[in-house]
């Protein structure tokens, strides 16, 4: 009997959940830009997943006799200064470029969220200390600090990732701490305290879900920033070591050929642009759906 009731309950609950989600999905889809963003991100993700398998050539094999070929049937996006197939390099690069962005964003997010939660929840001197730390990190223009770190550690993708991760976590910490503090003072948390709900449950049921939305939005927007940061560091000479097919490095290497062989630079350039565009649009869309009121805050941090 109660089993039947239970399952009916679950079904009803699921329907309500679905209704709730579908409303969000509808809101998300209402803006064509959101859909464009999602489509771009999905496309890039697919390219990253299957790219290496569908690439027509090996990304590093040179054919000096076949260098600087215009796009053609054999080489849909042409060949580069060493006669390598640009399309193949692009497809291989997708995984790497996206991987870097995900990894860096992941580190930033984990580090920042942990520190933010700690500061927001602990308060007092811990909070004071951590927030001054955050201030210090934020006082450096990101790329400047990353440049110094990566420059001193030496050029390699690992160091670039490390440098970018070290300069980006503070935004998350601020966002999370701010949200935690605001939520802590929200009436529903105060009410929970009055109702003798345990600290642990308040943290997991009331605080974390509230924090998740903005963090996801910031992370999505951050993906683009990281990709651009990697490209910038590549340009300065701190990117991937050859012959790695990484978009920023490809673009940076190809810039000398902009006039003579436009495809070498512009193909990875457009790829970067579309990826960043995709993540930014997606992030905006998520923000509209998940967290409509925090525009300026996230803009300020991302």
């Amino acid at each position: 009997m109660s089993g039947v009731l239970g399952s009916v309950g679950t079904a009803v609950r699921r329907r309500y959940r679905a209704l709730r989600t579908s409303r969000k999905v509808a809101a998300f889809c209402a803006n064509p830009l959101n859909v464009v963003g999602l489509a771009l991100v999905v496309a890039i993700a697919v390219a990253a997943a299957v790219g290496p398998f569908i690439a027509p050539y090996d990304p590093t094999t040179q054919q000096l006799t076949n260098r600087l070929q215009h796009p053609s049937l054999a080489h849909p996006l042409g060949t580069d200064q060493l006669g390598r197939d640009v399309l193949s390099r692009l497809l291989h690069g997708a995984r790497l470029s996206l991987g870097i962005a995900v990894a860096v964003t992941g580190i930033r997010l984990t580090l920042g969220t942990t520190i933010g939660l700690l500061a927001g929840y602990a308060g007092g001197w811990t909070d004071e200390f951590l927030m001054r730390l955050v201030d210090v990190q934020l006082a450096f223009p990101g790329l400047v600090l990353a440049l110094v770190i990566a420059g001193i550690l030496g050029p390699s993708l690992r160091n670039v990732m490390l440098a970018l991760a070290l300069v980006g976590w503070a935004s998350y910490a601020r966002l999370v701490r701010g949200t935690v503090l605001a939520t802590k003072e929200r009436n529903f948390v105060r009410a929970a305290r009055l109702l003798n709900v345990s600290r642990f449950r308040i943290a997991t049921r009331h605080l974390l879900p509230t924090v998740a939305g903005p963090v996801v939005v910031l992370a999505t927007l951050n993906m683009g920033t990281v990709i651009l940061g990697t490209a910038g560091l590549s340009f300065i000479g701190l990117g991937a070591q050859p012959p790695t097919a990484e978009w920023g490095t490809m673009l940076s290497d190809g810039r000398h050929h902009l006039r003579s062989a436009w495809w070498i630079a512009n193909v990875p350039g457009v790829a970067i642009m579309l990826t960043v565009l995709g993540f930014t649009l997606l992030g905006d869309g998520l923000r509209d759906v998940l967290d409509p009121k925090r525009d300026a805050t996230i803009e300020k941090l991302s």
């Binding site: 803006n31 064509p32 830009l33 464009v36 001054r132 730390l133 201030d135 210090v136 934020l138 006082a139 450096f140 223009p141 990101g142 790329l143 400047v144 600090l145 440049l147 110094v148 770190i149 420059g151 001193i152 550690l153 030496g154 601020r174 966002l175 701010g178 949200t179 503090l181 605001a182 683009g224 651009l228 490209a231 910038g232 340009f235 300065i236 000479g237 920023g248 673009l251 940076s252 810039r255 902009l258 006039r259 630079a265 350039g269 970067i272 642009m273 579309l274 960043v276 565009l277 930014t280 649009l281 905006d284 525009d295 300026a296 805050t297 803009e299 300020k300 941090l301």
Partner: protein, 316 residues
């Protein structure tokens, strides 16, 4: 909080932050693989330095002391306005910075103007025509600017405006003409952020009752938009400007290289690669100082833009 207390307060936090910055800046030196003295001397001399040369170099640059002592003496010097001397040319770091800074500031200001000139009309238009083709087009257009790595954008702009159309100089610094392309390169990236912000902030403001009040007075729509709505919409925008200065400095590094402008960014890149630590430390400290200072100014100006603002309110 009144202005004086607030200033005191901000000054206090700024000093703490700058102290932290100086620790980080100084600490970076000790991340370096290898003995800095040797690396630098080798470069300077173009050969392996002798043991005595290394020793005398370490002595003249105070590298023999324990790290905390070095740090303290560096900070003391900095407080006296002495940022140290370049390892390579015996030039005072402050001289190098003072020489390079105007070019970077000029670029930053010009970029900001470009960004605002693009962002204000586009953002307002986009908000007023929310959900229309104009809106989507201008949002997308704005985003394209920020989605391009700015060195690529820079080279494309050179290709189009300097080489193909021949209407603007390729590179260099000094004339206003030479400022145009770098400012556009850097400005478009920032314009995207500002456009989106102005748009969303306008959208919020346009829903406010006082906009309708303004209309109900019989005011023309243009006055309603640009006097009543925009003024309010700019309030959050201004807070962003301070932070955006950081992204301007980031961008300046790359843009200065692309357009061969010997500003702070170029100086920094050279110094980093040469391991010219006094210069690196000087520049990071100065940029952080500028950044922190600008944000204080922004907060203060914020108050004059929005009379409701109480100084010292906790910002996220």
């Amino acid at each position: 909080m009144d202005d004086a207390t607030y200033l005191l307060h901000r000054l206090g936090t700024s000093i703490i932050v700058l102290l932290g910055v100086s620790v980080v800046t100084y600490g970076l030196l000790f991340l370096t693989p290898g003995d800095p003295a040797e690396v630098i001397l080798t470069q300077q001399l173009d050969r392996q330095p002798s043991a005595s040369e290394v020793e005398s170099f370490r002595a003249t640059h105070g590298m023999d002391d324990p790290v905390p002592v070095q740090y303290v003496s560096w900070v003391t010097d900095v407080l006296r306005g002495d940022l140290g001397t370049s390892y390579y040319s015996d030039t005072a770091v402050s001289t190098l910075i003072v020489d390079a800074l105007p070019l970077t500031i000029e670029l930053a200001v010009a970029s900001l103007l470009v960004a605002l000139a693009i962002a204000i009309p586009t953002g307002v238009l986009s908000a007023v025509h929310r959900g229309s083709a104009i809106d989507y087009a201008s949002q997308l257009g704005a985003l394209v600017g920020v989605s391009m790595p700015n060195f690529w954008l820079g080279y494309l702009l050179i290709l189009v405006f300097a080489l193909t159309l021949g209407s603007l100089p390729v590179a260099g610094a000094g004339s206003y003409g030479q400022l145009v392309l770098p400012a556009i390169t850097l400005g478009t990236g920032m314009a995207a952020v500002l456009t989106r912000l102005i748009r969303s902030s306008m959208l919020e403001v346009l829903d406010e009752a006082y906009v309708d009040t303004a209309r109900s007075k019989g005011l023309r729509e243009r006055i309603v938009l640009y006097k009543h709505a925009l003024r309010n919409a700019l309030v959050p925008v201004v807070t962003i400007l301070g932070v955006q200065l950081g992204s301007l400095l980031n961008g300046a590094v790359v843009v200065e290289i692309v357009f061969q402008r010997p500003g702070l960014g170029m100086l920094l890149v050279d110094a980093v690669f040469e391991r010219n630590y006094p210069v690196v430390q000087g520049i990071t400290l100065v940029t952080a100082g500028i950044f922190v200072g600008t944000n204080v100014l922004v907060d203060l100006s914020y108050r004059y833009l929005d009379p409701r603002v109480e100084l010292g309110g906790e910002t996220v």
